[in-house]
């Protein structure tokens, strides 16, 4: 089932917001930042990157701050910052749930196999 507009941020979207957290960046800088911080685990294709930028601008999560020749620089808006923090909270909650579940497994002495079936 399709999701509502930006109800949940995908990994790519989350890292684009992160890239703009401390300073405005242009498209290629955002892409480089994401590759560097994730050690190339997350790579943004140009289509994905510019679609995210267009969508975020439309949703007012970011705004264009400067245009120099071909280069367009974007900065996070207050709404974008709020959305980023909401996402952080959601991810922390997910992690907390996972850690709690892991602790329970340790107490019960169960071991979760890659296939997902616990082994006693």
């Amino acid at each position: 089932m399709g999701r509502k507009t930006l109800e949940t941020l995908t990994e790519s979207m989350f890292y684009v917001l992160m890239a703009l957290l401390h300073r405005p960046r242009c498209g290629t800088e955002i892409s480089d930042f994401v590759s560097a911080i994730t050690q190339n685990r997350v790579r943004l294709g140009p289509g994905t990157l510019y679609t995210i930028l267009a969508k975020f601008e439309e949703e007012r999560l970011i705004r264009e701050t400067a245009v120099e020749g071909r280069k367009r620089t974007y900065a996070l808006t207050d709404t974008g910052l709020e959305r980023y923090q909401e996402e952080i909270a959601r991810l922390r909650s997910c992690l907390a749930d996972a850690e709690q579940e892991a602790r329970r497994d340790e107490q019960d002495g169960t071991q979760v196999l890659p296939g997902g079936c616990p082994q006693f």
């Binding site: 790519s12 294709g45 140009p46 289509g47």
Partner: protein, 396 residues
């Protein structure tokens, strides 16, 4: 100017996965996208190789920075597939994918989807309007008579209309299905283009066949139809001889001077033949005789041999509806359903005021309507009726 090769695109242009898959398959055959024209895709021939094509809606990559970034990664703009669709191409197998997140790609289609929704609605409304106008004649009192009408290609047009609606719905719905899939995080399904192309080819082939049939039917109507005086007819036709029914060989036809002046022949004693795909044998035979005195018996006949026997009974109902007035003034008519050997149905309508009888008969795929004015009983000579129903051109 270099030579290009034209190919008709059977894949829905709004189904990006399928268009990309088709273009990549063409590249594998050594045909590389060059441009589009209203009916064709044009390709540059070359050495077959793997090339990646990606369709992208306007408003994302089509800016100077996006283009430059694409080029730096090994992608270049190959052309446009319409006012709002851009086609990118990469010959470098190492170049990163244009899209690395299907959900984001799905979001990228939102703007286009808003426009498409309106177009879809307009197209569907137009189609619905055309469909209603095509079906409208079938809602008249005599739909089978409308269908078998000699020059009528209505049902063929209707089938073509259904095919057009199917293609239009598939064209638009494939776009919305793609967007839904992408937003659900599903990856591309480029290999599906073959099935899509086969379905389109089958639908277009059916349309072409129907178009040819329509033209054949129209031509056959003009070429095959004929009319003549009964006495002078050179071709065989079914007839229930009024003289035999009256058991009076002395009865003779006296042409009306007015009919002679208007039609150039004795229209009161004439036969007309017409052909249609659903009813290849349609005869109208009129007879009006006189004994030289006051007695002038008349017998008009409509004789139909249908291609589809299932239409026979509804046709009989249509004939009753068209030619008989008993439903408007039932008190003036006596309606019976006599048992006639060899006939599936027989309906006799007798006028209580005048010596008029109407007989509606069905035997298999043959339907007959007889309108008789005279002193005899129409059902009094069942042998003549059986002979009439059994008539075939080759047996004459």
């Amino acid at each position: 100017m270099s030579r290009t090769v034209r190919r008709f695109c059977l894949v829905d242009a709004l189904n990006f996965d399928h268009i990309e898959g088709w273009l990549e398959a063409m590249a594998q055959k050594g045909l590389f996208f060059d441009h589009t024209s209203p009916w064709f895709f044009h390709f540059q021939p070359g050495e077959p190789r793997a090339v990646r094509y990606r369709v992208e809606p306007g408003g994302t990559l089509d800016n100077a920075e996006g283009m430059a970034y694409c080029q730096s990664l090994g992608w270049e703009l190959a052309g446009k597939l319409g006012p709002q669709l851009f086609l990118y191409r990469s010959d470098d197998p190492e170049a990163p994918e244009l899209h690395t997140d299907p959900v984001v790609r799905g979001y990228g289609l939102d703007k286009l989807a808003r426009q498409m929704r309106w177009r879809y609605l307009v197209v569907l409304l137009c189609m619905a309007g055309m469909l209603v106008s095509a079906i409208w004649p079938l809602t008249w009192d005599e739909p089978v008579l409308a269908l078998i009408g000699s020059s009528n290609t209505l049902y063929l047009g209707l089938l073509m209309e259904f095919i057009a609606i199917y293609l239009s719905i598939r064209y638009f719905s494939s776009f919305f299905a793609l967007r839904r899939r992408l937003k659900a995080g599903e990856g591309p399904r480029r290999s599906g283009w073959r099935r899509s192309a086969r379905a389109t080819a089958a639908a277009l082939a059916c349309s072409c066949c129907l178009l040819v049939l329509s033209l054949v039917q129209s031509a056959a109507y003009f070429l095959a139809s004929w009319e003549s005086e009964t006495a002078a007819a050179e071709r065989p036709f079914p007839i229930l001889e009024l003289r035999e029914l009256e058991d009076n060989p002395a009865l003779e036809a006296v042409p009306s001077p007015i009919a002679l002046e208007i039609f150039g022949y004795d229209r009161d004693n004439s036969v007309r033949y017409a052909w249609s795909l659903l009813c290849p044998g349609q005869y109208e035979v009129d007879q009006r005789l006189t004994d030289g005195g006051d007695y002038e018996p008349r017998l008009d006949m409509r004789w139909y041999r249908l291609s589809l026997p299932c239409l026979a009974s509804p046709l009989l109902d249509d004939l009753i509806s068209r030619y008989s007035d008993f439903r408007y003034a039932p008190e003036h008519y006596t309606v019976t359903e006599p048992e006639l050997p060899g006939f599936d149905r027989a309906v006799l309508v007798q006028d209580n005021r005048w010596p008029d009888q109407e007989l509606f008969l069905q035997a298999g795929n043959v339907v007959i309507y007889l309108d008789y004015s005279g002193t005899q009983e129409l059902t009094g000579r069942p042998d003549l009726l059986t002979e009439l129903a059994a008539w075939r051109p080759s047996a004459s």
